[in-house]
């Protein structure tokens, strides 16, 4: 039976990938947060 091998998240750069993924998720959220809502845009055009 194969023994269990511990994968170090630091050695595999797993943490870096996780950070990058979280960056893109948060970046998308930030852009949405900073974009005026559809209602506001409609109001400003009126």
């Amino acid at each position: 039976m194969d023994s269990f091998t511990y994968v170090n998240i630091f050695e595999t750069k797993g943490l870096e990938y996780l950070l990058l993924l979280s960056f893109w998720v948060l970046f998308a959220y930030l852009i949405r947060y900073l974009s005026p809502s559809v209602e506001k845009r409609k109001d400003s055009h009126k």
């Binding site: 943490l15 950070l19 990058l20 930030l30 900073l34």
Partner: protein, 399 residues
């Protein structure tokens, strides 16, 4: 601004006009004058001793610490804070966002003066200032040196900024034909200026690449050129907000009420740009921190100091910019701009002065003379800025 002179055509007229414009205007006993005049005079006396008796007579510099406050603040930090000029000209002339047109002149003037004074302050700090000409005249060209690039870029960028600002000077002198010709050069000059800026903002970071053994690992990275470039974008945006807010108060009489209102609107746009850039910069820092496996370094004084810089003066102001933009709060945005500026100053000083030789037993700290001369340079720039703004059509155009 003087509109009395019809056309400054002949040399005699030009001379008379210039003499008239050089005369001081407004009250002399203002708080700024009372503080700045003694500082400038003291600074000049200190500079006399610096040039007669050498750097050692007025600075705490040594063979181990050759770069101090004059380089760290004036050159390395000042250039980052002048980043607003290339950002705003890119937005207005290349991206064609006309909304920011009214702040182009003041921002370019700021950028030009910052380079002239802070870049000029480099001559105070080098042991043999007359050798400063060498990179330009071909004597001992150091092609492989980052400083060679920076020297040329500083000079060319100052010319580019002067050309970008020259239509204002032509308008001030009522040289209409010259103004028309100079305006046609603007787009080309702007593109040249942006290219030079991007390269030397990152070049200043590249300058420290070779100092790996001397800079604390939390601040040194092979990606320093990118970090310097990205941080110069939000430093420039924060500086425009900060300087614009002060200018709109101090020079209120020179600005029409419409511009006051539109400036508030511009501040929101600048805050949005700053929030996004700071967010990207923060993740760059976080990624480098993890990539370089620096967890062990965070649990001491230097580590806490690093967290103060990165969280306190990057992440928090970034969130404040975003929150201020979303909730239309000028107050929050203005506080965030001051914090962002402080963060950039802290970062540049950390790299060039504070963590430089961090392992040494004896640390460098600036002498009072170095602080006075630094203040002198800042005040002298503000004096020239004030003179230009109160005479030339910087806030408004007649054409």
């Amino acid at each position: 601004m003087n509109n009395n002179v019809a056309v400054v055509g002949s040399f005699g007229q030009f001379y008379k006009f210039l003499l008239q414009e050089l005369k001081p205007r407004g009250p002399w006993l203002t708080p700024f004058n009372i503080i700045s005049i003694p500082v400038i005079l003291t600074g000049l006396v200190i500079l006399y001793f610096r040039f007669v008796y050498g750097l050692g007579s007025v600075t705490n510099l040594s063979q181990e610490t050759a770069w101090g406050l004059w380089l760290g603040f004036d050159v390395i930090t000042g250039v980052a804070l002048a980043g607003g000029a290339y950002v705003i000209t890119f937005v207005v002339y290349v991206m064609k966002v006309e909304k920011y047109q009214s702040i182009v002149r003041i921002t370019v003037l700021n950028g030009f003066l910052a380079y002239a004074f802070y870049g000029g302050a480099l001559l105070l700090d080098v042991g043999r200032p007359w050798n400063g000409l060498n990179p330009y005249i071909g004597n001992s060209f150091g092609f492989s040196s980052v400083l060679f690039l920076i020297c040329w870029h500083f000079l060319l960028y100052m010319f580019a900024q002067f050309l970008e600002f020259s239509p204002v000077i032509a308008e001030w002198l009522h040289w209409e034909k010259a103004q028309r010709i100079l305006k046609k050069l603007t787009l080309g000059t702007v593109i040249l200026g942006i290219t030079l800026s991007i390269l030397h903002q990152s070049g200043l970071g590249a300058l420290f690449l070779m100092a790996k053994p001397k800079i604390h690992p939390l601040w040194w990275s092979e990606f320093m050129p990118i970090l310097f470039f990205v941080s110069s974008i939000y430093a420039g945006l924060a500086m425009i907000i900060f300087e614009g807010t002060i200018s709109h108060r101090v020079f209120k009489a020179l600005i029409n009420p419409k511009s006051h209102h539109s400036f508030d609107d511009m501040v929101f746009g600048l805050a949005k740009g700053a929030a996004i850039t700071m967010f990207v910069y923060y993740f760059f820092k976080a990624l480098l921190f993890i990539h370089d496996k620096q967890w062990d370094m965070i649990n001491d004084g230097w580590g806490y100091w690093y967290l103060v810089e990165v969280i306190g003066f990057v992440l928090i102001p970034a969130l404040m910019f975003a929150f201020g933009f979303r909730n239309r709060s000028l107050k929050i945005i203005k506080v965030a701009s001051v914090m962002a500026l402080f963060g950039v100053i802290l970062n540049r000083l950390n790299v060039s002065v504070i963590t430089f030789n961090w392992f040494a037993d004896v640390h460098y700290y600036p002498s009072w003379q170095e602080i006075v001369v630094t203040l002198m340079v800042i005040f002298a720039e503000v004096w020239v800025f004030r003179w230009v703004v109160t005479r030339m059509p910087v806030f408004s155009s007649n054409h």
